[in-house]
C-alpha cells in the first residue's frame, strides 16, 4: 500500500500534526493573548481530527478494518476532556509573575508551548497506533505517544515530578527496548514488517520459534504502556509525582495506545489460531482453525491479566494517597481489559466480542478516570509545601499550595465542595463497576466475552478482583459522602482554573449520561472490534459478512 493510499486514513493525524506545529510556535509568543491561544487551538485540532476520523474511510484493509474511526474519535473525545483538565498545569507561577510585573516573558522559562505540543503529539501517536499497518509504524507511533509524556510528567510540577519523569523515561526506554526487540524478532521470523504480510506468513507457514518469541516480547514490552505486570512498577511513583491532570493523561493515553498495539499484535496470529485437537487426538496449535490465540501468547496474556489485576488491586488496598490508589487501580483496569484481549472476537454480538469490550471499556475508563483525577486537580490546600518532598521554596511560588493528596483530604467533600464530592462518588462507583453506571456497562461485556471464550478461571479471577476493588473504591466513595471533614488537615480550596471543574463535571455527567447512549456506543465499539477472517480460515469466529471477503 503506497503512501498515497495511506494518507486517506491519516488525515486526523495530519491535522493534529499541523496543529502541533502551530501550537509549538504560538506558545512562545511574548503576547499573553497569543500564548493563551494554545489551548483553543488544541481543542480545535481535536475536534477537527475527530470529525475527520468520522468522515474518513470506514473500512481499512487491516485485521481490524473498522478500528480507526472509533479509536480516533474516542481519543479525540477523551482528549478534549483532558485538555480542559490540563488547564494551568504548567507555567502557573511564571505567568503570575509576569502578570504582576515581577518578571518579563522569557521563552526559556516557560513550558506552555512544549506542553500543549506534546499533548497533541502524544494523542497523534495514539491515533497513529490505530492506523498502523507496519511494525515500524507501530513502534514509532507508540514512541510518539510515550516520549512526550516523559516531558509532560517532568514539567508538570516542581520537585517530585522530576524524579518521576526520570524514572518514567528510563523504565519506558526499557519497555520500548523490549517490544522493539520483539518487533525485530517478528521481522526476523517472518521476513517482513508489514502487518498484513506477517499475518499471511503466519497463516501460510505457521509461527516459528523466532516469531513466537517476537510476539511474546512485543506483548510484554507493550505491557509497559498499559502498566501491566511485570511492567507496572513505574505507575504509582509516576502518577504520584506528576500533577493530577498529567496523571489522568497518563492513565488514558499510553494505555489506549498500548491496547491498540496489543490488539494489532494479537491479531497477527489471530484468535482463530489456538490449540485444536487434530485427527490423531493430539492437541496442538492449529493453523487458523482453532478457537483462541496461540497457546503461548494466550498463556502470556493470561498470566499478565491475572497478575495485573491482582497486583493492582491488592496493592491499592494499602494506599492512603488517592493518586496512588488510582494508579494501582489503573493497573488493575488494564488487567480487566486484557481479559477482553484474550477472549477476542468470539461472536458478532457486542457481548461476545472481547475486543469490542476493550474498546468500549477504554472509553468508559477514560471518562471516569478523568473524573477522579479532575477532583484532585480541582482542589488544593495551602501549607502543603512540606509534602512535596523535593520542592525548594524559591519565593517565586504564589503561595505554597499543593493538590489534595490523601483520602483524608476527601473527607466530607460532598458537603464542603458538593460538585467535586459527588463527582468523586460517581466516578469511583463507576470505576468500581457499580450498576448502572458507565463502568458497569464497560465491565459487564468483559465478563460475558470471557465466558463466551471459555476463559472461566480468568473470569473468576476477574470477579474476585472486582470484589477486592470494592474495598478501596468504597473508601473513595465513603470519605466524601459519609465522613466529616477532617479537622486536622487544612481545608481544600478550589484551583483558579474554571476549565478543571468543567472537566470534572463533564466526566461525572458522562458517567451518567453515556449510559443512556450505551446502545449506540456499544454498537460502534462492536463494529470497531470486528476482525476479518484470517487467510486460510475455513470458519471464522467473528467475521462480519461485509469484510469476510476481503483478503490482503
Amino acid at each position: 500500500m503506497s503512501i498515497i493510499e495511506k494518507v486517506q486514513y491519516i488525515w486526523p493525524e495530519i491535522a493534529m500534526f499541523i496543529a502541533t506545529c502551530v501550537v509549538m510556535v504560538l506558545g512562545l509568543s511574548p503576547s499573553l493573548a497569543i500564548r493563551r491561544l494554545c489551548s483553543p487551538v488544541c481543542g480545535a485540532a481535536l475536534v477537527i481530527a475527530g470529525l475527520l476520523a468520522v468522515m474518513g474511510p470506514d473500512t481499512a484493509p487491516a485485521a481490524l478494518p473498522h478500528l480507526m474511526p472509533y479509536a480516533k474519535v474516542i481519543v479525540a473525545g477523551v482528549g478534549l476532556l483532558l485538555l480542559l483538565l490540563l488547564a494551568g498545569t504548567v507555567d502557573r507561577e511564571e505567568e503570575s509573575l509576569i502578570a504582576t510585573g515581577r518578571a518579563r516573558f522569557n521563552p526559556l522559562r516557560t513550558n506552555r508551548a512544549e506542553f500543549y505540543a506534546f499533548f497533541l503529539f502524544s494523542l497523534t501517536g495514539v491515533m497513529l497506533c490505530a492506523s498502523a499497518s507496519d511494525l515500524i509504524w507501530l513502534f514509532l507511533a507508540l514512541e510518539l505517544t510515550s516520549l512526550p509524556t516523559y516531558i509532560m510528567v517532568t514539567v508538570s510540577t516542581r520537585g517530585r515530578s522530576h524524579e518521576a519523569g526520570v524514572k518514567y523515561f528510563f523504565l519506558g526506554a526499557l519497555g520500548a527496548a523490549t517490544f522493539l526487540y520483539g518487533f525485530a524478532m517478528l521481522y526476523g521470523g517472518t521476513g517482513t514488517t508489514d502487518l498484513s504480510g506477517i499475518r499471511q506468513h503466519f497463516a501460510e507457514h505457521g509461527i516459528n520459534s523466532i516469531a513466537m518469541l517476537g510476539l511474546l516480547l512485543s506483548v510484554l514490552g507493550i505491557g509497559f504502556k498499559i502498566a501491566a505486570v511485570p511492567m507496572h512498577f513505574y505507575t504509582p511513583d509516576v502518577y504520584e509525582g506528576a500533577a493530577a491532570p498529567v496523571s489522568a493523561f497518563l492513565a488514558f493515553v499510553p494505555k489506549t495506545a498500548g491496547f491498540l498495539a496489543i490488539m494489532l499484535i494479537a491479531s497477527l496470529p489471530g484468535w482463530g489460531y489456538g490449540p485444536v485437537a487434530g485427527a490423531d487426538g493430539v492437541i496442538r496449535d492449529g493453523l487458523g482453525a482453532g478457537a483462541s490465540l496461540p497457546e503461548a501468547l494466550r498463556l502470556t496474556l493470561w498470566v499478565m491479566a491475572a497478575l495485573t489485576m491482582t497486583v493492582g488491586n491488592v496493592l491499592a488496598l494499602w494506599q492512603n494517597s488517592v493518586k496512588r490508589i488510582l494508579a494501582y487501580s489503573s493497573i488493575a483496569h488494564s488487567g480487566y481489559m486484557l481479559v477482553g484481549i484474550i477472549a477476542g472476537p468470539v461472536g458478532e454480538r457486542f457481548i461476545d466480542n472481547g475486543l469490542a469490550a476493550v474498546l468500549f471499556y477504554l472509553l468508559a475508563y477514560g471518562v471516569m478516570n478523568v473524573g477522579t483525577f479532575a477532583v484532585l486537580a480541582c482542589l488544593e490546600k495551602s501549607g502543603g509545601a512540606a509534602l512535596q518532598s523535593g520542592a525548594r521554596s524559591t519565593g517565586l511560588e504564589t503561595g505554597a499550595t499543593t493538590e489534595i493528596e490523601t483520602v483524608d483530604d476527601l473527607r466530607g467533600l460532598c458537603r464542603t465542595h458538593p460538585a467535586m464530592g459527588w463527582t468523586m462518588v460517581l466516578c469511583s462507583l463507576s470505576l468500581l463497576g457499580f450498576p448502572p453506571l458507565l463502568g458497569f456497562m464497560g465491565k459487564f461485556p468483559l465478563f460475558t466475552a470471557g465466558i463466551a471464550a471459555g476463559e472461566i478461571p480468568l473470569v473468576i479471577v476477574l470477579g474476585i478482583n472486582s470484589a477486592i476493588a470494592a474495598f478501596y473504591y468504597l473508601r473513595l466513595v465513603a470519605a466524601p459522602l459519609l465522613e466529616d471533614p477532617s479537622p486536622a488537615s487544612p481545608p481544600a480550596t478550589p484551583t483558579p482554573f474554571p476549565a478543571r471543574p468543567m472537566a470534572a463535571l463533564l466526566s461525572a455527567a458522562s458517567v451518567l449520561i453515556l449510559v443512556g447512549f450505551a446502545g449506540v456506543l456499544m454498537k460502534q465499539s462492536a463494529k470497531a472490534g470486528e476482525t476479518v477472517v484470517s487467510p486460510g480460515h475455513t470458519a471464522g469466529r467473528g467475521a462480519s459478512d461485509g469484510v469476510a471477503a476481503w483478503n490482503p
Binding site: V166, L171, M231, A296, T300, V303, V311, N313, V314
Partner: protein, 736 residues
C-alpha cells in the same frame, strides 16, 4: 359461603344418614363473627388506653363490657343453634391455587356445633368474671401495665374464640398460636422479674415443640384430604375417602392423630411437655386462673375432641390408648409433685396438670363426654381455686407459702374466700355430689368399661385419692386453724413475689410467725367487693355445674352437647362398629366384677373422703376445722413433718418436682448449649475466619508484594526485566 355450600350439603347428607348424632346442619348466623370481634375491639380500645396513658380502671371496664357482650352473644348463639351444626363464612382469608384445578382455601369462617358452644360458653363466661376480678386485682398497676394487661387479656379471648370457633384447621392454628402468644405476654407480664421472663420463654418454647406437631398434622391433613376445612373433612371421613375420592390411606389414621396429639400435649401440658405450666404461675393470678387453668390449657382437649372422628379411624386405637396412658401417668406424676409443694399456687398448677391428665385419659378411653364434662367443671372450680389463691396472694403481699399463712377463716373479711375455696377444694377432691365428683367419675368408670384400660382406671383412682389429699392439705393449712401470717416480699417492694417460695420451703425450717408479729407494720387487706362477688359467683357456679349432670340425656347436658358434635362417640360413627365399649352383659371387664358406672360413685367418693381425712389428720388444726382429728397448732408445722424423715428421698424428690427440670437441663439444654457453643466457635473461627481471611488475604498479598514498590529505579528495572524473563520462561516451559 357459596364455595362451602356443596361440601356442606355433603356433610348434611352424610350426617343425616349416619344417625342421630348430628341432627341438623344449617348456615350459621353471620353475627357469630361478633363473638371474636368484640374481644378484638377490646384489644383496640385497651391499646388506645395505653396510647393515651389512661391512669384509671377504664381498660378493665371496657374489657368487661366487651367480654360480657361476647358472652351474651355466645349464649344467644347457643340458644339459636341448639344441637345443630352450622357453618358461617365471614370472609375469604387465604385462597390460592395449590395445584391445577385445586384451590387451597381457608376462609375466616366459624364452625358452630354444640362442642363449640360448650367451650365458648365457659371461655367467654369465665373470661368476663375473671376480667371483673382482675380489674380489682391488678388495680395496683393502674396506669402502668394495666392497659397492656387487659389488651393481652382481650387478645387472648379473641384468639381462644378463633381457636374454638374456627371452621378450618388453619384458623384454629391462628388461634392456637394467638393464645400461645398471649400466654407468653401474660406470663411475662412482670417483665422486670427474670423469673417471669424465663417462665414466659419456657412456656413459649415448650408450646413451640407441640406446635410443630400440630403444624405437621395440619399439612398432613391437607395432603390427605386436600382441604383444611372441618365440614368437608368430616364428610370424607364418614365416607372413608380421601381428597381424591380414593379410600383413605391407612397411615392417615394414625399419623395425623399422632401429630395432633403432640400439639395437644404441648398446649395442655401433658407428659414430657408439662414443665412449663407450673412455671407459668409467674404471671398475674387472673391469668393463671383463666389461661393456665380454665381455658387455654384445655385447647389440647378441644383439638382432640374436635378431630375425634380422625382418632377413631384406626381400628386398633393405639393413639387413643397412648393418650389414655399418658394422661393417667401425667395425672399421677404431677399429683405426687403437688403433694410435696408448699407454694399454694404451684400446688394448683400441678393439680391443673393432673386434672388435664384426667381429661386426656377420658379422651383416650373414648369418653369424650367425660373429658368435656371434666373440662367444663374443672374450668369453674379451678378458676375458683386460683382466684382464691390470688386473693390470698393479693392480701398477704405475695405470700403463697402454706406454712406462713394460716386460719384465714378466723380473719375478718376472708369468709367469702374461705367458702369459695372450700367449694373449689371439694370439687377438686371429688367430694360426692359436687360437679368434680361426677365428671371425674365418668372418666374413671369409663376406663373400666374400655377393654384393656383397667390399669388406667386404677392409676386415676389412686390419683383421685392423692388429689383429695393435696387439695385439702392446702385448705387445712391455710384457711382454717390458728390465725397466723407472714407477709410476702411485696410488703417491701412492689410487684408480686418471686418464685422462691418453694425454694425457701425446701429448707424445712419455716419460721413460725404469730399473729402478733406486726413489726413490719403490715396489715393484710381482705379482698374487696369485686373479688368477693366473683368468688362467690364462681363458687355457686362450680356447685351448679353439678346440676348439668342431671339435665339432658344419659350423660347430662354436656353429654347431650358432645353427643351432637363431631366429638360424639356413637357406635355408628366408629368404623369398628359398636364393639368398642365392652359389652357388659357378655361379662367383659368391669370393675371387680361390678358395673363400673354403678359402683364408681361409691368407690371414688370413698377414695376422695379417705384423701380428705388423711389431709385432715396430717394438716388439720385442732377442733372442728381439722374435722376433729387434726392437731396442728402453728402455721409452719404439722404432723406431716414427722413423715418427711420416713419418706426420705421420696419426699425430697417430690418436693423437687422429681428433678424433671434438672434432667431436662442435663439431657437437653446442656447438650444443646454445648453444641451451640461448638457451632458458635465454628462460626467464629471458620465462618468469620473465612470472611476475615477474604478481607485480609488481598491486603496480606498486597503487603507481601509491597516491598517491590521500593521507589528505586534500578529495582524497578530489575523487576521488569526479571518479570519478562520469568514470564517467558514459564510460558516457554508450559506452552511450547
Amino acid at each position: 359461603m357459596i364455595g362451602v355450600a356443596p361440601a356442606l350439603n355433603g356433610v348434611i347428607g352424610a350426617l343425616a344418614q349416619e344417625g342421630p348424632a348430628h341432627a341438623a346442619t344449617a348456615a350459621g348466623p353471620a353475627w357469630a363473627a361478633l363473638i371474636p370481634a368484640l374481644p378484638l375491639l377490646g384489644v383496640v380500645l385497651c391499646t388506645l388506653c395505653a396510647v393515651f396513658r389512661v391512669k384509671n380502671r377504664l381498660p378493665a371496664v371496657l374489657t368487661v363490657a366487651c367480654l360480657a357482650g361476647a358472652f351474651g352473644l355466645t349464649v344467644w348463639m347457643f340458644l339459636t343453634t341448639g344441637h345443630g351444626t352450622a357453618v358461617t363464612t365471614s370472609l375469604d382469608w387465604i385462597r390460592f391455587h395449590a395445584a391445577p384445578g385445586h384451590e387451597f382455601v381457608s376462609s375466616w369462617g366459624f364452625f358452630i356445633d354444640p362442642l363449640t358452644c360448650l367451650w365458648m360458653l365457659f371461655v367467654t363466661g369465665l373470661a368476663t368474671l375473671i376480667a371483673i376480678y382482675a380489674g380489682e386485682y391488678m388495680a395496683g398497676d393502674a396506669g402502668a401495665g394495666y392497659s397492656r394487661f387487659f389488651a393481652a387479656f382481650n387478645l387472648f379471648v379473641f384468639s381462644m374464640a378463633c381457636l374454638v370457633m374456627a371452621d378450618s384447621l388453619v384458623l384454629l392454628f391462628l388461634g392456637w398460636e394467638g393464645v400461645g402468644l398471649c400466654s407468653y405476654l401474660l406470663i411475662g407480664y412482670f417483665y422486670k422479674r427474670p423469673a417471669a421472663v424465663a417462665a414466659a420463654k419456657k412456656a413459649f418454647i415448650m408450646n413451640r415443640i407441640g406446635d410443630v406437631g400440630l403444624m405437621m398434622g395440619i399439612t398432613s391433613t391437607w395432603v390427605v384430604f386436600g382441604t383444611v376445612e372441618y365440614a368437608p373433612i368430616f364428610d370424607m371421613i364418614s365416607r372413608g375417602v380421601d381428597g381424591a375420592g380414593n379410600a383413605l390411606p391407612e397411615w392417615a389414621g394414625w399419623v395425623i392423630p399422632s401429630l395432633f396429639t403432640i400439639g395437644a400435649f404441648g398446649k395442655s401440658a401433658q407428659l414430657f411437655l408439662y414443665v412449663w405450666l407450673p412455671d407459668a404461675m409467674e404471671g398475674p393470678t387472673p391469668v393463671s386462673a383463666l389461661i393456665h387453668a380454665a381455658t387455654m390449657v384445655t385447647a389440647g382437649v378441644y383439638l382432640i375432641a374436635r378431630m375425634y372422628p380422625m382418632y377413631v379411624l384406626d381400628g386398633t386405637h393405639w393413639v387413643l390408648t397412648l393418650i389414655a396412658w399418658s394422661g393417667a401417668i401425667t395425672a399421677l406424676w404431677s399429683a405426687t409433685i403437688g403433694m410435696a409443694q408448699f407454694d399454694i399456687k404451684r400446688i394448683m398448677a400441678y393439680s391443673t396438670v393432673s386434672q388435664l391428665g384426667y381429661m386426656f385419659a377420658g379422651l383416650g378411653v373414648l369418653t369424650t363426654t367425660g373429658a368435656a364434662f371434666h373440662v367444663f367443671t374443672h374450668a369453674f372450680f379451678k378458676a375458683t381455686l386460683f382466684l382464691c389463691c390470688g386473693a390470698v396472694m393479693h392480701g398477704f403481699a405475695g405470700q403463697l407459702d402454706l406454712r406462713r399463712v394460716s386460719g384465714l377463716w378466723s380473719m375478718r373479711g376472708w369468709a367469702v374466700v374461705t367458702i369459695a375455696m372450700l367449694v373449689g377444694c371439694l370439687n377438686l377432691a371429688g367430694f360426692p355430689f359436687t360437679a368434680g365428683f361426677f365428671s371425674k367419675d365418668m372418666i374413671i368408670a369409663e376406663c373400666y368399661v374400655t377393654p384393656g384400660m383397667a390399669p388406667v382406671g386404677w392409676v386415676l383412682l389412686l390419683t383421685a385419692g392423692l388429689t383429695a389429699y393435696y387439695t385439702f392439705r392446702v385448705f387445712f393449712r391455710v384457711f382454717v386453724g390458728p390465725a397466723e401470717f407472714e407477709p410476702g416480699d411485696e410488703a417491701h417492694a412492689h410487684g408480686p413475689a418471686g418464685d422462691d417460695h418453694g425454694h425457701a420451703a425446701g429448707a424445712g425450717t419455716p419460721s413460725s410467725v404469730d399473729s402478733t408479729d406486726h413489726s413490719h407494720g403490715f396489715h393484710p387487706h381482705a379482698p374487696g367487693l369485686a373479688i368477693n362477688f366473683v368468688l362467690g359467683l364462681l363458687a355457686v357456679l362450680s356447685l351448679a355445674a353439678a346440676a348439668t349432670y342431671f339435665v339432658g340425656g344419659e350423660h347430662g347436658w354436656v353429654g347431650e352437647m358432645v353427643h351432637h358434635s363431631t366429638a360424639g362417640v356413637s357406635g355408628a360413627a366408629l368404623p369398628g362398629g359398636g364393639a368398642v365399649h365392652a359389652d357388659l352383659e357378655t361379662g367383659a371387664p368391669g370393675f371387680l366384677g361390678y358395673n363400673p358406672h354403678a359402683v364408681m360413685y361409691y368407690v371414688s367418693a370413698a377414695v376422695g373422703l379417705i384423701g380428705i381425712l388423711i389431709a385432715a389428720f396430717l394438716h388439720g388444726p385442732r377442733g372442728v376445722g381439722g374435722l376433729l382429728i387434726g392437731s396442728r397448732r402453728h402455721a409452719a408445722t404439722s404432723r406431716a413433718d414427722a413423715l418427711l424423715p420416713v419418706l426420705g428421698p421420696v419426699a425430697r424428690g417430690a418436693q423437687h418436682k422429681w428433678y424433671v427440670d434438672e434432667v431436662y437441663d442435663f439431657l437437653i439444654i446442656r447438650p444443646i448449649w454445648v453444641i451451640a457453643h461448638l457451632f458458635h466457635l465454628f462460626d467464629k473461627l471458620i465462618v468469620d475466619g473465612l470472611v476475615g481471611l477474604a478481607g485480609w488475604l488481598p491486603r496480606g498479598m498486597g503487603g507481601a508484594i509491597r516491598p517491590t514498590q521500593s521507589g528505586h529505579l534500578h529495582g524497578y528495572a530489575v523487576g521488569m526485566a526479571g518479570g519478562v524473563a520469568v514470564l517467558l520462561l514459564v510460558v516457554l516451559l508450559v506452552a511450547w
